[in-house]
């Protein structure tokens, strides 16, 4: 009798929920409070479940690509998992670009897509697409939910996979009938997960770490090369402590900006294709390179065969497949950046060895000399006395006005490089850009995602007149949810980076990189959406008008700055077949 009674109590404690309600409840139990999405037929049961609850806020975007980028910006700026909800077919395929963007930059994201009912799958039903198939090469993992009972465990697994190890996007595809409100099943959110086939790396190998420390301490010309993994893996504080303790120079990748304070004297600037002269030259001459959470991307190494000829390489990464992929590591260490850096620091502190003081002093003297000669900030290469506004000056002005403390998102092209070069990020998670995939249209929706997470912070989307038109519809989302951001458009009336390459490598044949007087009036466009528009055309107006624009805090401001259309981004590494140190410093000067 007692046993029977207990069973009864247990049964009544298990709630019966429909698949749609289960999904929403599982997201709540997972701690989700924000979803970016767009409804449609196959997702309507889920949307109804969202309507009937309060704790999760849903942001209605204007295009599914915008949903993924907004969730991405939210994830990058907070370290939490970004959540996206879209419908089947076009909803799912529209999300693909944003999923690929997150995948290339290792951003934690869970994308839930509606699917046609189970018995229609494979019949070319209305709005059917094989989402699991379409997204396969650009996800960390994906699930097709076959039964409602699987929903809680699937959600738990998806968030675990997305946020651990090398993070990445996970897709959960749910057929409409699985979320049918008429069919209810017992709901229980699993407390623990068992996944025999997935064990993300944790601590590094202590023997390898000791080897790395010995190599690092014996270096005469060391460089610390830090990537996005340090930002995503919350290793910036440890990295900064390490670099300061050793007094070693640090360079960051495009994805790693903010991993080490940009205004610190030990910072050499960004490296790679548009990296600084001193960063690229120091890398080329280094004898020991400590690569942390970076993946020796082709935009960093230039020609792999000529990469840093005299350097021994220590490579820390959470993903073993990133190690020795393009450049062979002498000391590979697989582990989280945090765990490995912490152990390295301990090992250094307890070691009797010290860095060779005089060698490091000489090395710094050499680096300071390079900096003096061609440094981005000490010896600017761009015209500072012409009549036209220089894009570099715009970024520097915004850096001053925002006191270097803004969240800056960007699109892709020249403006992105100018922002990366001239806005010095002192903190991680402040620089939000599509580095791996290079997705135009990323900036504005990402800025909205950042603003939701940081409502009291200044959020600036640095963009161009090309990129902004790729997701400009999100101006409407900004209006609906009162998300006041600054849109800083470096308007050079052309696809600037394409044009730069055409001028440098195609004898100036500007194939389809100009608009022929077809640009919209961005001020009027912004106003049409209920925002404020500001146009800046004259050099003498730049600072004053920027000040005025940034003084507006309660609404989105579109700042359309007409910049010198002939300006190129420099330094630029010589391609193909150049080494790290082979760079154009201006249109006429080469190293």
């Amino acid at each position: 009798m007692a046993i029977l009674l207990n069973r009864k109590i247990e049964e009544t404690q298990v709630e019966l929920l429909s698949g749609g309600d289960m999904l929403v409840r599982a997201l709540q139990d997972q701690g989700v409070d924000l979803i970016f999405g767009y409804p449609g037929g196959s997702a309507l049961h889920i949307y109804d479940a969202i309507f009937r609850q309060q704790s999760i806020k849903h942001i209605l975007v204007r295009h599914e690509q915008g949903a993924t980028h907004a969730a991405d910006g939210y994830a990058r700026s907070t370290g939490k998992v970004g959540v996206v909800l879209v419908t089947s077919g076009p909803g799912a395929t529209n999300a693909i670009t944003g999923i690929a963007t997150a995948y290339m930059d290792s951003i934690p994201m869970v994308v839930i897509s509606g699917q046609v009912p189970r018995d229609k799958i494979g019949e070319d039903a209305f709005q059917e697409t094989d989402m699991v198939g379409c997204s396969r090469p650009i996800v960390k993992h994906s699930f097709l939910v076959k039964n409602a009972e699987e929903i809680p465990a699937t959600v738990k697994k998806a968030f675990f996979i997305a946020s651990t190890g090398r993070p990445g996007p996970v897709v959960i595809d749910i057929p409409k009938d699985v979320t049918n409100p008429a069919e209810r099943f017992p709901y229980r959110y699993p407390e623990k997960l068992r996944m025999r086939s997935y064990t993300p790396a944790g601590k590094g190998h202590s023997g390898q770490i000791r080897k790395a420390v010995a190599m690092l301490l014996s270096a005469r010309r060391p460089v610390i090369y830090a990537g996005g993994g340090v930002v995503q893996g919350d290793g910036a504080t440890l990295l900064t402590e390490l670099a300061k303790r050793l007094n070693y120079p640090v360079t960051n990748t495009l994805m790693g900006l903010g991993a080490f304070p940009g205004s610190n004297k030990r910072f050499l600037g960004m490296l790679g294709m548009h990296g600084t002269f001193e960063a690229n030259t120091a890398m080329h001459h280094a004898d020991v390179i400590l690569a942390v959470g970076a993946r020796f991307d082709d935009r960093v190494t230039n020609t792999p065969g000529k990469f840093c000829p005299g350097a021994k390489i220590i490579h820390i990464d959470v993903d073993p497949a990133s190690i020795s992929k393009t450049i062979v590591a002498d000391v590979p260490i697989v582990g989280t950046v945090q765990a490995v850096l912490a152990e390295m620091l301990e090992t250094i502190k307890s070691s009797d060895e010290q860095p060779d003081h005089s060698a490091i002093v000489d090395w710094w003297r050499q680096i300071d000399d390079w900096r003096e000669r061609h440094g981005l900030y000490t010896a600017p290469r761009y015209r500072t006395n012409g009549a036209l506004i220089m894009p570099q000056d715009v970024i520097r002005a915004v850096y001053d006005i925002t006191e270097g403390d803004a969240f800056v998102t960007s699109d892709v092209g020249q403006h992105q490089m100018f922002a990366a070069q001239y806005y010095l990020f002192d903190k991680p998670r402040r620089w939000i850009n599509s580095g791996g995939l290079g997705t135009m249209g990323f900036g504005l929706p990402a800025a909205l995602g950042v603003k939701i997470a940081h409502p009291d912070k200044e959020v600036v989307c640095v963009t161009g007149e090309g990129s902004i038109q790729m997701c400009i519809q999100e101006l409407s989302t900004s209006t609906q949810y009162h998300l006041p951001v600054k849109i800083l458009c470096l308007n050079n009336q052309a696809l600037g980076m394409v044009k730069q390459w055409q001028e440098m490598q195609y004898e100036g044949r500007l194939s389809n990189s100009v608009y022929e007087e077809s640009l919209p009036d961005f001020v009027k466009l912004a106003e049409a959406y209920g925002h404020t528009g500001v146009k800046i055309e004259r050099r003498e107006d730049l600072h004053g008008k920027l000040q005025e624009a940034f003084a507006i805090k309660d609404r989105t401001v579109f700042i359309d700055v007409y910049v010198d259309p002939s300006e190129h981004v420099y330094p630029m590494q010589v391609m193909p077949s150049g080494s790290m140190r082979d760079m154009w410093l201006s249109k006429t000067e080469r190293t």
Partner: protein, 163 residues
Amino acid sequence: MRRIISVLMENEPGALSRVVGLFSQRGYNIESLTVAPTEDETLSRLTLVTIGDDHKIEQITKNLNKLIDVVKLVDLTEGSHIERELLLVKVRANGAQRDEVKRSVDIFRGQIVDVTSSMYTIQVAGTGEKLDAFLQALGEHTIMEVVRSGVSGIARGEKVLNV
């Protein structure tokens, strides 16, 4: 270099497509591939033959290991191993040919598994090289249809691949 990689993976829909997709996506070769559930029905064992230098093979095994569905894998060619492939072949066999074909089958320790008045269906197991040699011995003119299973393999000695 030719390598035989044996993979234990979750017996889930989509798992195979992830493995195959990885190869096409990253430009790796698949020479042959065979897959079936194991005695533990939650697991499948997949054996594939690929060609690449050490660097490429390292990348292949690392990327396979990254797939969530992959539980464990081993490069069988790293150690001593047994490899087998199954061949089924239909050959024309009339009159005097019938004895001749039968003799070849015996030499290669194969079996005739189906017979008609003018045809034999033969089964031979062995390494790829042995099967090639058998087909050559038959002579092209008699062969009507060939089907090969792709390589399956297992390590020699005490070494096992299980969870």
